[in-house]
Symmetry: C2
Subunit: 213 residues, 2 copies
């Protein structure tokens, strides 16, 4: 075979790829009934997962975007259940150099997990303390983390400004997200059912962080 260095025809420019991607999404996805800010969030979630139909599974409270965006503008932290979520947040988009925090690998986490009889993902949240007050919480992995967060708030923990509830999978994911949506008086976004994941959760943060598409 004769070596070739450029046999493939593809767009090499990152900004052009983003622009073309968002144009395809806006042409294909049914964004009717969404405000412009909500649509921006949905478009980024679609971009993260490659499925325009995911819009049908997204549900958010009317105050979600405004509450989450105000928190980010005020410099509040983004608290994540998984390191993959934290690493998916584009730091350059954040409006106030917001801290992006994941306590899953804190050495105290496995100790707390044994004490409370829950997963490490759930236990990690017990280390958030007062940082939870007015924060944006992004859960993209563990249903137990989302359930435990709701338990903590019911028990008197500080209230976050908004909760991105997008754990993925087959055991507890759907149920934990419905529990968030039904919690009441807590701004939220969920992807219903089994779908979700760290990429969608991080994409939601990235959409909220800047109005630039």
């Amino acid at each position: 075979m004769t070596p070739q260095t450029e046999p493939y025809d593809y767009i090499h420019d990152g900004a052009a790829i983003y622009a073309r991607s968002f144009a395809i999404i806006r042409a294909e996805a049914d964004l009717s009934g969404l405000g412009e800010a909500e649509a921006r969030v949905v478009v980024r979630i679609i971009h993260a997962c490659g499925m325009v139909d995911v819009v049908k599974s997204i549900r958010m409270s009317p105050d979600f975007v405004s509450s989450a965006r105000a928190a980010l503008l005020a410099g509040k932290p983004i608290l994540c259940d998984a390191n993959m979520v934290a690493h998916g947040v584009t730091r350059a988009r954040l409006p106030a150099d917001n801290p992006v925090i994941c306590t899953l690998r804190d050495p105290r986490t496995p100790v707390i997990a044994r004490e409370i009889g829950n997963t490490r993902s759930a236990a990690a949240m017990d280390l958030w303390g007062d940082q939870l007050d007015g924060a944006v919480v992004a859960i993209g992995n563990a249903p137990t983390a989302l359930f435990h967060l709701l338990e903590m708030i019911r028990a008197g923990a500080p209230r976050p400004a908004a909760v991105i509830g997008m754990p993925v999978g087959f055991v507890g994911a759907a149920e934990s997200k419905e529990a968030l949506a039904e919690f009441g008086d807590l701004p939220f976004i969920i992807v219903r059912g089994r779908l979700g994941g760290s990429a969608m959760a991080a994409a939601t943060v990235n959409a909220l962080a800047s109005e630039a598409e």
Copy 2:
């Protein structure tokens, strides 16, 4: 409202959640025609995305699992296009304390990107050098990274032992994965079409890393 601390009924034990998840996946997914090792990979990919139907989009070469697994047992590195992929690899499952490498945030990467006229994701691969020889490559984000990897190999770069080709999205993702599958003589797995992502790519590595489910 009376505060309640444990209003939700859910499984708190991580191992039990994994076991139940994998049982549901094996009950629902059509794994016919797959060997046991291939099925383990597919089950973990399904677990990562919440979609049993993704099995229809997965294609792998007959030598993919054996070649990738031998590389991991030999201590070869896992080279990732995105930090989210690297952070999704469960270090405790790796058989030989394998290095997990992502060069996207190397300070040289944006310089190379300008030089070669490609994205930072593609440019980052030019820093892999001889580490590519016999490595497991996991691409879960950027089509340009997968295209550029194939260009590098055609131009004489060291050959990896296996390529996990799972960029996600609307521009170039499908095309780059078909190019990998058609490359010839390069063990591969792809998720066809727009689907993919860092979670699926990392799940593939985690499935290869240990036979424990």
